[in-house]
């Protein structure tokens, strides 16, 4: 793949990451609690901005860590077996997202450990300092790690094939696109938009988001399998 195609692929993969909802849920709760606690608009903005900064930092760290591991393991030439395993992971988690992402019933409860969900709910309620909001942002990205593994792995595999400077650009592209959902909610809360409307929209469209996230992962898995694994195997055999 040339540089432009690689960056476009990373951006598309990051959009799938953006469709996962844990960070958005925590941001909605944080916004709700801070406004409900009669904090000034400046304070609310400072807390939600610190939260988004925390999520940005952790996304950058996770993708660059994965890229570093792959670079150490494979160099800049990724073996066929690694692409095949990555495709299996992407397809498997795509099906899992279709089946399990949201819990049954009302609301937008996700299929994550209830203890962890309670921890995030209670932390978002107790957060009053930007440092706490920043660490909540870091934690929320770790919380959805199980769902973002496929997008992180594929992006890291693409990034290590790019020249040095472009790897940093790719990292930036991934982070920016993966945070689009969060940035939209940040802008809505910052501009005083009703949180109940945000939550209603999320609840109404949750099955569509689940279908599109899982479907996008499955399509991505097939695409990478055909473009990388099958194409190379066919090339060797012909």
């Amino acid at each position: 793949m040339d540089i432009t195609s690689s960056l476009a692929a990373v951006a598309l993969i990051a959009l799938i990451h953006a469709s996962f909802q844990l960070s958005v849920s925590v941001l909605t709760l944080l916004g709700s609690h801070t406004i409900g606690a009669r904090m000034s608009h400046k304070k609310v903005l400072s807390l939600i901005s610190s939260y988004v900064l925390g999520a940005t930092t952790m996304t950058l760290l996770i993708v660059s860590f994965a890229a570093l591991i792959f670079l150490q393991a494979f160099g800049t030439e990724v073996p066929l077996m690694a692409w095949a395993i990555a495709c299996a992971v992407v397809l498997g988690i795509g099906v899992a997202v279709w089946l399990f992402y949201y819990r049954k019933g009302a609301g937008t409860s996700l299929w994550i450990s209830r203890g962890f969900a309670r921890h995030l709910t209670s932390r978002s309620q107790k957060t009053t300092h930007p440092t706490e909001a920043f660490s909540l942002g870091l934690t929320s990205v770790i919380g959805e790690l199980v769902f973002i593994i496929p997008t992180v792995v594929l992006s890291a595999l693409i990034l290590i094939g790019l020249p040095g400077g472009w790897q940093m650009a790719g990292l930036g592209v991934y982070t920016l696109f993966s945070l689009l959902g969060l940035l939209v909610v940040w802008a809505l809360i910052g501009s005083g938009y009703s949180l109940s409307k945000v939550q209603k929209w999320r609840e109404t469209n949750k099955r569509f988001l689940q279908f599109s996230s899982g479907g996008a992962l499955i399509v991505l898995g097939f695409f990478v399998y055909v473009a990388k694994v099958a194409a190379e195997v066919a090339g060797v055999m012909s």
């Binding site: 925590v26 709760l29 709700s32 609690h33 406004i35 019933g105 409860s109 995030l120 109940s196 409307k197």
Partner: protein, 95 residues
């Protein structure tokens, strides 16, 4: 301020049982109203009305779970401020 003899059974055993507190309920309703964009004054008035209605509902109930209390409060709150009632109901279902 504690009212009546109603006890609230918390969702998790380690939090045990606590006496119903009208003041605590009112605070949580005010927070939901403010989150939904209601002005402070309106939030206070709505919270007082809803807390009174919930207190009446609790009169013949010596024990209720915190989930039942939340549902009953959200139901009353929706009569005064639909968005606030919705946010109140969603609190434990967002993540």
């Amino acid at each position: 301020m504690e009212t009546g003899g109603t006890h609230i059974i918390k969702r998790h055993k380690r939090h045990g049982i606590e006496a119903f507190s009208k003041e605590k309920l009112q605070k949580s309703i005010v927070a939901a109203c403010l989150s939904a964009g209601a002005p402070h004054g309106q939030a206070e008035i709505v919270a007082r009305h809803v807390a009174e209605s919930v207190e009446e509902w609790l009169e013949d109930r010596p024990e209720v779970t915190s989930s039942d209390l939340r549902l009953a409060t959200a139901k009353q709150l929706k009569k005064y401020h639909a968005d606030a009632g919705y946010l109140y109901e969603q609190h434990r279902m967002t993540i």
